[in-house]
């Protein structure tokens, strides 16, 4: 690194500005524990540096060793308290592969219906009860009173559909607990959780999932109870999508340049969701084909181009790096899997070969500062270890599905450049077609917008799954579970989309026991620290260089633009992002040799 030029550049920047240390620890309204530590240039109104830290370690990969592999979905569900069922489901996918069992079709439809309800619930509560507060009257008045005044005078373009006349009316409705839409969304999040419980028993740690299928009893009543609730949600989404479009479009209009908030290079990963039981046999050998048959298409998007849709390719190029995390390296530890079942070599830094060796220590932002490791995707074309993000899930799912152009089920069509979603007539609203179009940026607003559209996508997909399930039921095919034997030795992997993005589980079985188990949820992908090569994690990267639009100075600074940037990723760290507003201490008024660089990193 050209140290001299960096210092000169930084010197210049710092001369004009005023670098202030601003920290938020904990960041609230997310799941888990997260701290965001920044240096802000109030002269240039820009974030100069950001570190993301997580303050909790539990050790799943350690205490699962030696346990019965049939227990893995019950155990790993407990990783996450809002999308635990995504873990349980992903674990059963990995079990199915390792045990060589293919569930009956109706079981797969039941799991798909449960997981669709999870997306409907979770995106809903996160968007409108957690993220929504960043856009509510109270918050906007406290951070950008000028913007609120403008909102009072701005008519909502879709007021006729959602009923909120002005943008300020939408903001008022989002006030926590007292806002009408806040409470409506909270209530709706219960209805969708009821739908979830119908299929998977309990929220958020399911009771009825097993390797080989489900214990849920498929009856006419089960699907009736689900569908009547689903249609209420469909009606709700017909209002909610235009409501959010109005709100988000207003921010672009009221604050020119807002597209830079939380913006980073388009580096998105999606591991695919909703298996098609007609194609998916859970064998590794056919994973490329059944991966492409998923109802959300897996893929890696680099600078707007889809470089793969192949789950085998995706799997083999996952690398877990260290650099700033509280662990010892495993480079010389045991190699559990030398080759995959297709004969491809498996890297020592792949989750199948990872050994987790915790080393608790003091937090040092120039050294080790978090319990999160740094997952990367190895781009074999360039040799880069890419810090892919999930954009909180939906933006990556849409982007991948849209470009692949494979999904076409009547309710949903991927066009190659957009995704069309068809919602049938509901009690008070006519049939509606929504279209998510590939945006210009991977930024905070577009991550949030995609979340709303994906709620409609999940509902539309559920309509299809319910039809398929009923067809099985009507044909008398009600068997929900197939028996299996736990093999002496095996490996397995599961690929799924947790609500907030990519999820994979990687298991090695020896002597009928778990020899190694490493789950990779979305938040390690998003919340990770600088890796051994000095590449910052996506939160850090997205927050660095985010412009500051907040009207408050350092004394009353809330960091709302940073909050919107971080929350757009839907942080879920039962590990953590804490942002704490320090005392507004001015670090350097004239120059800062440390500014914008990491001299300790190679």
């Amino acid at each position: 690194m050209g140290t001299t030029t960096t210092i000169e550049r930084n010197q210049e920047a710092a001369d004009k500005g005023q670098l202030v240390e601003m920290n938020w620890d904990p960041i609230t309204r997310i799941v888990g524990s997260l701290g965001i530590f920044t240096k802000i240039d109030f002269g240039k109104r820009k974030v100069a540096e950001c570190h993301s830290t997580s303050s909790i370690f539990r050790g799943y990969s350690i205490f699962m060793k030696g346990k019965d592999p049939r227990d893995s979905h019950f155990i790993t569900s407990r990783i996450c308290g809002i999308c635990g069922d995504n873990h349980a489901t992903c674990a059963t996918y990995a079990q199915n592969m390792a045990f060589g069992v293919r569930p009956p079709p109706i079981a797969e439809w039941i799991v798909n219906l449960g997981e669709a309800a999870e997306y409907m619930f979770d995106h809903n509560i996160f968007q409108d009860n957690l993220v929504g507060v960043d856009f509510c009257e109270q918050m906007v008045k406290e951070t950008n009173p000028g913007v609120f005044e403008k909102a009072e005078k701005t008519e909502s373009p879709h007021a006729g559909v959602h009923g909120y006349r002005t943008i300020a009316d939408i903001m008022r409705a989002l006030n926590p607990f007292t806002g009408a839409f806040y409470r409506e969304a909270l209530q709706m999040s219960r209805l969708t959780r009821e739908m979830f419980c119908l299929m998977e028993g309990r929220h958020v740690h399911p009771s009825t999932l097993y390797p080989g299928g489900v214990g849920t009893v498929p009856t006419v009543q089960l699907f009736t109870d689900y569908i009547v609730r689903l249609m209420k949600y469909v009606e709700f989404m017909k209002k909610v999508v235009p409501l959010h479009d109005d709100l988000f479009d207003f921010f672009y209009e009221a604050l020119p340049g807002y597209e830079e908030v939380g913006r980073r290079r388009i580096l998105l990963g999606c591991w695919g969701s909703f298996n098609d039981p007609d194609v998916c046999d859970y064998t590794y050998e056919k994973m490329t084909d059944w991966g492409r048959a998923m109802y959300v298409t897996p893929g890696v998007i680099i600078d707007g181009k889809q470089v793969t849709t192949d789950l085998v390719d995706i799997n083999l190029n996952i690398r877990i790096l260290l650099g700033s995390s509280y662990y010892d390296d495993w480079q010389n530890a045991e190699t559990f899997v030398k080759h995959d079942p297709l004969g491809n070599p498996v890297d020592q830094r792949h989750p199948w070969n990872q050994s987790t060796i915790p080393r608790p220590q003091k937090r040092d932002f120039a050294g080790k500062y978090t319990w999160v490791m740094s997952p990367r995707w190895y781009d074999k074309r360039t040799g880069d270890y890419l810090a892919l993000d999930t954009g909180g899930g939906p933006i990556a799912r849409f982007w991948s599905t849209a470009l692949a152009g494979l999904v076409d089920i009547g309710y949903i069509k991927a066009t190659g450049h957009s995704v069309k979603i068809y919602l049938p007539k509901t009690m008070s609203l006519p049939e509606t077609e929504l279209e998510w179009k590939i945006p210009k940026w991977s930024n905070a607003i577009e991550r949030d917008r995609a979340r709303t559209y994906f709620q409609a996508y999940a509902a539309a997909a559920a309509l299809h799954f319910a039809e398929k399930a009923l067809a099985e039921l009507h044909a008398g095919r009600t068997k929900t579970w197939n028996d299996f034997k736990v093999p002496e030795d095996a490996i397995g992997c599961g690929f799924h989309e947790a609500v907030r993005g990519v999820l994979s589980h990687h298991v090695v079985i020896r002597g009928k026991k778990i020899a190694n188990y490493h789950p990779y949820p979305p938040t390690p992908w998003n919340a990770n620290p600088r890796d051994i090569y000095g590449t910052p994690g996506p939160y850090e990267d997205a927050v660095q260089n985010t412009p500051i639009f907040e009207e408050n100075g350092p004394e009353k600074f809330k960091g709302i633009d940073i909050m919107r940037a971080v929350r757009s990723f839907d942080p879920c760290l039962p590990c953590g992002v804490h942002m704490y507003l320090g005392d507004g201490r001015v670090l350097e008024t004239h120059h800062s040799p440390m500014f914008g660089m990491q001299p300790s990193q190679p």
């Binding site: 028993g201 214990g215 704490y580």
Partner: protein, 355 residues
């Protein structure tokens, strides 16, 4: 005319609560998953907004400080923690979610922390917060099995030596108001079970209810005195000796892993939410997730529980014998495994290479 005479006649039924305002400080920074905080947003009996917006008569005004739901961030959020420590946020109820790591087994660093110490710049361990706040709290509540007894993260071979609140504070611990720790186990906690317990405590604070009735494991008696099996609508199949041999069945699951006959939990009876869902009643084996012995004493989950064979065979002769057998098992699983303790050694079986 005196002002009170103008009040509506019915108002004489409305006594002012003994305490006007109560704060709830909710720590999610144990070793958990935030699943209990998420769970309470599903509750409707009562709902979180019923309690916060004063929709239930006779309660004090309630201020909730929970990181999953809070408006404030960072220091603005942590302000309440410091106020409580200084005795300026009185009275408050401390809710702990997640199991309590053993910070004594290593030389430096932390397993779980909340906020940053302004003097050192280092994270403040969750245990330190419990030490600071528990003596000041009106009541301490363990939300979910992790906080109550250790739970999944206290599984054999765990690296953090984590434990339940009572292992940490002591089983005989009492708050300054004389309340024992209140545990509401469940993984996660059943939404209405938690909110109903909280409502009871608020009534107690308001002077409208006697001391909360708890059992030996510090659970509210009215929620946990019955077993899963006693509330399960598949128990009729058990009575007829008609058992499921695969998960593809609507019959009794005891022969394929269900621990319902010996587990204290009301979920099949109450449902998960709105009376829907549950565990064995909807095809999911009971893995004992409310119990002090969870998870170790129930693993591997998908095998028939030991002793189950005897009971389910003996069902033909019925009655007293079965109840006695079940009482023995129930006693065992109502105890935590021996490695959950606050001593400065790690005895979970994990051999750390470096702490």
């Amino acid at each position: 005319m005196p002002a009170h005479a103008a009040a509506p006649y019915g108002q004489i039924t409305q006594k002012k609560p003994a305490v006007a305002e109560v704060h709830i400080l909710w720590i999610t920074a144990g070793l958990g998953c935030d699943g209990d905080s998420v769970s309470i947003t599903a509750a409707t009996q009562p709902s979180i907004e019923d309690v916060l917006l004063g929709a239930i008569p006779g309660l004090p005004k309630v201020h909730l400080h929970n990181p999953v739901l809070a408006y404030e961030n960072g220091d603005e959020f942590m302000k309440y923690w410091y106020l409580a420590e200084e005795g300026k946020l009185d009275p408050f109820v401390l809710v702990v979610e997640g199991s309590i790591p053993n910070e004594k087994i290593k030389e430096e660093g932390y397993w779980a922390a909340l906020g940053t110490n302004p003097d050192t710049g280092q994270p403040i361990p969750t245990t330190e917060w419990i030490d600071r706040l528990a003596p000041k709290a009106l009541a301490v509540v363990g939300a979910g099995t992790c906080a109550a007894y250790g739970g999944i993260h206290a599984m054999e071979g765990n690296p953090t030596g984590c434990m339940g609140l009572a292992d940490y504070l002591g089983w005989g611990w009492k708050s300054k108001a004389g309340l024992p720790i209140v545990n509401v186990p469940g993984c996660p906690v059943q939404p209405d079970n938690f909110m109903e317990t909280l409502l009871y405590l608020l009534y107690q604070v308001a002077g409208r209810a006697p001391m909360i009735p708890l059992d030996e494991q510090l659970r509210p008696k009215w929620l946990f005195e019955q077993t899963v099996h006693q509330g399960c609508d598949r128990a009729g199949y058990y009575e007829e000796g008609d058992f499921a041999s695969s998960y593809n069945s609507h019959k009794c699951l005891v022969k394929i892993g269900c621990w319902g006959p010996v587990v204290n939990c009301n979920v099949p009876k109450r449902g998960w939410m709105a009376g829907l869902g549950g565990c064995p009643n909807v095809g999911g084996i009971c893995i004992g997730c409310t119990m002090p012995g969870f998870p170790d004493k129930f693993m591997p989950f998908m095998d028939e529980p030991p002793g189950g064979k005897l009971s389910s065979t003996a069902i033909a002769t019925y009655g007293k014998a079965i109840r006695t057998l079940r009482a023995v098992t129930n006693h065992t699983i109502n105890k935590e495994p021996k490695w959950r303790h606050s001593r400065s050694q790690l005895t979970t079986g994990y051999q750390p290479q470096s702490y």
